[in-house]
């Protein structure tokens, strides 16, 4: 790991540049002490950290670099009423008390900036290139889409950042994932990242900060880049990032917390330096071809168990490693799937569009464009949950809510919702979902629930047909129905 650290002549990767710019203290044999530019917090992983502070008589060093929101646990209906579940309510109330006591800016339920923490940061313009961003949530990797080093931390580390605005971290290795070519029409960032994870396995990125690059990545919108970086943790990577470019700058400019005037110019000048030097070396590299990618779905119980939508449920014997065969057998039993079944024949009870992976405005527009003029299958339920209040309001302004409701889908308030089923939005035992979220673990969306991870177009088409489908499988909408 140390090779490049000592060879000063060699160029640096993007990740190394950002890392090195945040080292407060570095001593051989010890982890680096890394400065944290932005600390995002939410109700689930913070209460014990604040308790720790109080017990030790410590304070929050930089409340002005800290932002809190309520997302994991909040209901997505009746958001103006008191939360029914007393345990959830206590957790939310604890968040509010802690924010007030320590002077932290909080966007609570009912606030126009409330939403999933990884949707709120970029939307406010707080997420910017070259930053270090942490949160007690593994999908903090989302913010890497802006060229930031962003990763999830545990509650002890949340306490550490609150008290010191730093973290002790061993410098990870760097990896490049180069995706050449262009994604074919109808194939999305989600399909790209699901393909990658099946290719590498869930542990393939372990120990690395991954830089996604290449033509297909450059062609993605910020939303698409966030989807890719979001799922970095699903193949074990410490973080995932993408070099900032004009797409990034255009997205940030004009947002409430973006630099303005001369500050903007200074910021952009610095952001433009945030690229991997030509003579830099990565510790590992993976190359993929986007032009061969197709809609991709999972059949198993981890995000690395996926196949093209046009494929079939695999046979456990298809796997070379004994451990993968056993895992496949267990997954098939849990998912109640028979090997050899075409994925397109798998019937789905619930479709969930939302989460920090695919709950942004672009995702809702895409889903609505497919649903418009069609009906959700009568045996299928479709839940559309915007990632934030801003996303909800924008969607309503564009009339997307009406399109969803007319098709028979449920239109909800903002939150994590069925991504992890901490609120009342859960699958029943044995129920099967097609979900635009990021985890298909056993019980993730509710005890005994069975999850297929899918892209937004696949989710929308599946809602219409009731079986896993892509928009290409749908009957054309009759003229006049739109």
């Amino acid at each position: 790991m140390g090779r490049k650290v000592y060879d000063r002549a060699m160029g640096k990767t993007l990740a190394e540049k950002v890392w090195d710019a945040h080292v407060v203290r570095s001593v051989p044999g010890e982890p680096d002490l890394l400065y944290i530019d932005l600390h995002l917090i939410h109700e689930v992983t913070s209460p014990q950290a604040f308790d720790g502070l109080r017990l030790a008589g410590r304070t929050v060093r930089r409340p002005d670099l800290t932002l809190a929101t309520e997302d994991h646990n909040v209901p997505t209906i009746d958001q103006d009423k008191p939360i029914a579940d007393p345990v959830s309510r206590t957790q939310i109330e604890t968040m509010r008390r802690n924010a007030a006591e320590f002077g932290i800016r909080l966007h609570p339920l009912g606030d126009v900036e409330q939403g999933i923490v990884h949707v709120v940061g970029p939307q406010l313009g707080l997420t910017q290139p070259g930053m270090t961003i942490v949160c007690g949530d593994s999908h903090t990797s989302t913010h890497g889409a802006f060229g930031a080093i962003a990763f999830g931390i545990g509650t002890s580390e949340v306490e550490h950042v609150l008290a010191t605005q730093t973290l002790m971290q061993a410098k990870p290795k760097t990896m490049a994932v180069t995706v050449n070519g262009s994604l074919p029409p109808g194939v999305t960032a989600k399909d790209l990242v699901l393909t990658l994870i099946t290719h590498t396995g869930t542990g393939g990125g372990q120990g690395y900060i991954v830089e996604y690059r290449g033509q297909a990545i450059e062609e993605l919108s910020m939303e698409g880049r966030m989807t890719v970086c979001n799922m970095s943790i699903e193949w074990g990577a410490k973080a995932g990032l993408i070099a900032p470019d004009q797409t990034t700058f255009d997205y940030i400019e004009g947002r409430p917390e973006a630099p303005k005037g001369a500050d903007w110019d200074a910021a952009v000048a610095e952001w433009k330096t945030l690229v991997t030097d030509d003579d830099a070396e990565y510790d590992a590299e993976i190359v993929l071809d986007a032009s061969e990618m197709t809609p991709f779905v999972t059949w198993g119980t981890n995000p690395g168990q996926g196949v093209p939508l046009g494929g079939t449920v695999p046979h456990p014997e298809d796997f070379d490693e004994a451990i993968d065969r056993v895992a496949a057998e267990k997954a098939l039993a849990y998912m109640a799937l028979e090997a050899g079944t075409p994925m397109r024949e798998v019937k789905v009870d619930t479709v969930f569009v939302g989460s920090c992976t695919n709950g942004r405005i672009e995702d809702l527009r895409l889903a609505a464009s497919i649903i418009e003029g069609r009906r959700v299958d009568e045996n299928t339920r479709m839940l559309v949950v915007p990632g934030s209040v801003r996303v909800r309001l924008q969607a309503e302004e564009e009339g997307l809510d009406v399109i969803f409701k007319e098709a028979g889908a449920e239109w909800r308030g903002a939150g994590c919702s069925m991504c992890l089923g901490m609120n009342p939005d859960t699958l029943q035992p044995g129920e099967r979902s097609a979900s635009t979220s990021n985890r298909n673990f056993e019980g993730r969306q509710g005890k005994g629930g069975r999850t297929h991870l899918v892209s937004v177009p696949v989710a929308a088409a599946t809602a219409v047909r009731g079986t896993l489908s892509s928009p290409a499988d749908l009957e054309p909408v009759l003229e006049g129905a739109r």
Binding site: L65, H72, V87, Q91, A266, A267, K447
Partner: protein, 201 residues
């Protein structure tokens, strides 16, 4: 945090790979605001199954968990570590851990010992053939030991030096970092003024 030097306790063979943090403790248990009492949610989905290893009397007092590869992948919830600790586990042995889980373990005082896959296989076989047998995890010498005589298992485990040192000393990270407060202040003085803040003074 209590110091950890060496621990000997009943070994529990968990013959599964990819045990993610949602399996270790499902989200419905994460609503609590305390740091204790999470043992009831540990492996919740499997606890109803009478044949599940923790439900067998011989393993009930287990304190050393022996699991398959990629233990603790997934979410950042430190509750997964607390649930194991609240139940009585002091150490987890596996061929590979989820990064955040391993980090959290080090902070909370649960020893995450990474060993070769073959060692896990031998431990599983040994613990299944001898239910209730103990395993020793010695942090000082970085070794795991189980069994006696010719079939005895003894091998080394991996843990980074810094985490090992902190566990051996039982040190609190925040305290260590606060002793470098001057370095932090010096760094802060060099940050460009256009970097974003969440609230202005």
């Amino acid at each position: 945090m209590d110091a950890f030097t060496s621990h000997t306790g009943v070994g529990v063979p968990l013959r599964r790979s990819n045990v993610d943090t949602d399996q270790i403790i499902p989200a419905e248990y994460l609503k609590r605001v305390t740091r204790s009492g999470f043992e009831d949610g540990l492996f919740a989905a499997w606890r109803n199954d009478p044949s599940f290893v923790l439900n067998r009397a011989e393993y009930a007092a287990g304190s050393v968990l022996v699991a398959g590869i990629d233990f603790g992948t997934g979410s950042s919830r430190e509750h997964a570590v607390w649930a194991l600790q609240n139940y009585g586990f002091r150490a987890v042995i596996a061929p590979r851990f989820g990064d955040i889980f391993r980090g959290n373990s080090g902070k909370a005082g649960l020893l995450a010992a990474q060993v070769d896959e073959k060692v896990v296989q031998r431990l599983w076989d040994h613990l299944e053939a001898n239910p209730g047998a103990t395993v020793t995890v010695d942090l000082e010498s970085r070794t795991v030991r189980a069994g006696e005589g010719p079939g005895a298992i003894e091998d080394s485990f991996d843990i980074d030096d810094y985490t090992r040192w902190r566990l051996l000393e039982g040190l609190d990270d925040v305290g260590i970092t606060l002793s470098h407060a001057d370095d932090i202040a010096a760094y802060e003085a060099t940050r460009p003024s256009w970097k974003p803040v969440t609230q202005r003074a």
